[in-house]
Amino acid sequence: MIQKILEERVYSLGILLVITALITSAVFPGTFPTFENFSQILLNLSIDTIVAVGMMLLLISGAFDLSVGSIVAFTGCLTAYLMHFFNIPVPIALAAGLASAFLIGWVNGYLIAYQNINPMIQTLAMMGIVRGCALLVSGSGIQNLPYWFNAIGQSKLLGVQMPIWYMLATVFAFTFLFNKTIFFRRYYYIGGNEKAADLSGIQVKKMKMTGFIITAVLAGFAGILLSSRLGAALPTMGRGLELRVITAVILGGATLSGGFGKIPGALLGALFMGLISNIMVIARVSGYWQDIILGLILIGTLWVDKYLQKEYAGVV
């Protein structure tokens, strides 16, 4: 049982989350353990988690995408631009926004999978290009978006904000897909040993390209959702999101070398980071310390995790 828990980051991180939440509830009983606060934590991490699901898929296959933050900004800005300046109906603008994300993902995927460009170089370049496009499209930002667009991210269902539902739906859908479909399980084989996967008949290049497209579309969806939640599209949205998301996903059990990780791990990793952030706000820890503390926690968690695995499970 202990061995199982230690082997699976999802379980060990889940336990760590519960322990942290219990201790914080005891220290800040008036402000931490409230429905509003938990709801706020989930709302704040919903955008990151949707992107993290895509990033988890890529990391399982042994790749990553640094352009996701820029895609978040661009799709939000493009959708807003079409609605605000051309009066394009909300559903068509949404489709155009998602289509643009699809196209960016396709370009990334094609050049990485078929032209063998290094994922870091390709997505780093795309990060700059797409961020520039977001600036071109939106200038200093677009306000006064249509009511029904804002309703996508600002409505509530059963008293819970919609972005939380979208996040949960994304996590459940991809968990199901990874558990029940052969197509998605192939990403583990690709991440574990790309050459062997290729020799066994898996269309590695096509699968890798699809992975980048899925990640970009999820980032596009997150961008639309963020604009809708803010009621505005800002070209500065999603700055630094790529590193936050990669951190959350690695915390959630993925490795940069590929072959490992589970979709719920993306949620738990983001949840853990969101929880720590929230505790620091409640404890009034100055912003100067927040990045330092988050970095230390990431290193500390991974180190303890490795140590325990080695000590009790014989797994390094």
């Binding site: 402000t31 409230t34 509003e36 606060n37 706020q40 934590i41 709302l43 704040n44 955008i47 977001a134 600036l135 939106s138 200038g139 200093s140 930002g141 306000q143 006064n144 009511y147 804002n150 309703a151 600002q154 409505s155 509530k156 269902l157 059963l158 008293g159 963020l226 803010l230 009621g231 505005a232 800002l234 070209p235 500065t236 949205m237 700055r239 630094g240 952030s277 929230n278 706000v281 409640i282 009034r284 100055s286 912003g287 100067y288 927040q290 990045d291």
Partner: protein, 345 residues
């Protein structure tokens, strides 16, 4: 299919449809945009905690030296003088959604007052949420006019651009090539760019050769300036709009050996800026009185909570606040003539 199976199927279908109806019935849409009226300003602060008084400043890019040395230093000094707790929160980088998240989380902790850096109009909703929660809320730096904030203190960024434009025209005698840079996409900076261009366009012999994004980074500003110098060796002047623009432009101009030949105007008055002005590399600094934003902003919060100057029998019921609605703290024009007054010894 027998009768019993059909009955169960029908029952399941009805339950499913019922669940869908209940689910959609419980869907709560956001409120329609309301017009902000003066009446909205009157907030009852009876629920505000003045026993464990705590005033919270929330900004973005909390570690930016300009914020630390001016805004935050004055806010901390104010807290010390008034003997109340002050806290400074926000993301380390320029991240407006993260600032919004922080404000949302702080609202849940019911501080005595909120002092919010008006980074972008997108923060209006969360400001309204704070006001609706009965928390006195003051915005500083850039106004968020579409919000229900109780008061605003800051600088008119259009005036910053205008001041730079007017000085640049004087420095280059109304003719020559001019470039400008800052953080593209920020509302206040775009206002500044507009102010600059409105002045420059009145002079047909001035050619604006480019608008550049230095990403608030000294190295980037220096790199852009080097490129400008290569593309336009006859450039007459460069204007900077963020705290790091000036040092970056100055570095490249100095390295090119064109100190004093290319005129530089920029914003802010950190020790580095003042020294560059003293050395003759920069010709003018458009400074903001940032200390006043947060000192008086905090004081306004205090006065609202403590009802220092009640104007009616009950200000909240009268739909008013007892603090100024908008304060323009004005600008500082620092030139070689008065720079010594600003250098701390």
């Amino acid at each position: 299919m027998n009768e019993k199976q059909r009955y169960i199927e029908m029952l399941v279908r009805r339950i499913f449809i019922g669940a869908i109806i209940v689910l959609f019935g419980s869907c709560e849409l956001p409120p329609r945009n309301e017009n902000i009226t003066r009446h909205d300003l009157g907030t009852d602060f009876d629920s505000v905690d003045i026993v464990n008084e705590e005033y919270v400043m929330i900004t973005t890019a909390v570690t930016m030296p300009m914020y630390v040395n001016h805004d935050q230093a004055a806010f901390k000094r104010w807290g010390k003088k008034m003997n109340v707790k002050v806290s400074i929160l926000g993301p380390a980088d320029w991240d407006v959604p993260a600032q919004i998240n922080t404000i949302e989380e702080v609202i849940g902790t019911h501080p005595t007052g909120l002092l919010i850096n008006g980074t972008d109009p997108a923060i209006a909703q969360v400001i309204n949420k704070a006001v609706a929660a009965g928390i006195p809320t003051v915005v500083y730096d850039s106004d968020i006019p579409n919000s229900k904030r109780h008061a605003f203190l800051g600088t008119d960024w259009y005036e910053i651009g205008k001041m730079q434009g007017e000085e640049m025209v004087k420095l280059i005698a109304g003719k020559g090539k001019v470039a400008y840079m800052g953080i593209l996409g920020l509302t206040n900076m775009e206002q500044g760019f507009l102010g600059l261009l409105d002045v420059l366009k009145k002079y047909p012999e001035i050619e604006v050769v480019g608008k550049y994004d230095d990403k608030a980074n000294v190295e980037e500003a220096a790199r852009i300036t080097s490129d400008i110098l290569a593309a336009h060796p006859d450039i007459a002047g460069i204007c900077g709009f963020d705290s790091n623009s000036g040092p970056g432009i100055a570095l490249a101009v100095r390295e090119a050996g064109k100190t004093g030949k290319i005129k530089i105007t920029t914003v802010d008055w950190e020790p580095e800026h003042l020294q560059l002005l003293k050395d003759g590399v920069i010709q003018m600094l458009a400074g903001q009185k940032r200390e006043l934003f947060t000192w008086y902003g905090a004081q306004f919060l205090y006065d609202m909570v403590h009802r220092t100057n009640p104007l009616a029998q009950n200000d909240a019921k009268a739909g008013i606040t007892s603090v100024p609605y908008i304060i323009n703290t004005g600008l500082l024009k620092i030139t070689p003539e008065n720079v010594d007054q600003f250098i701390k010894r």
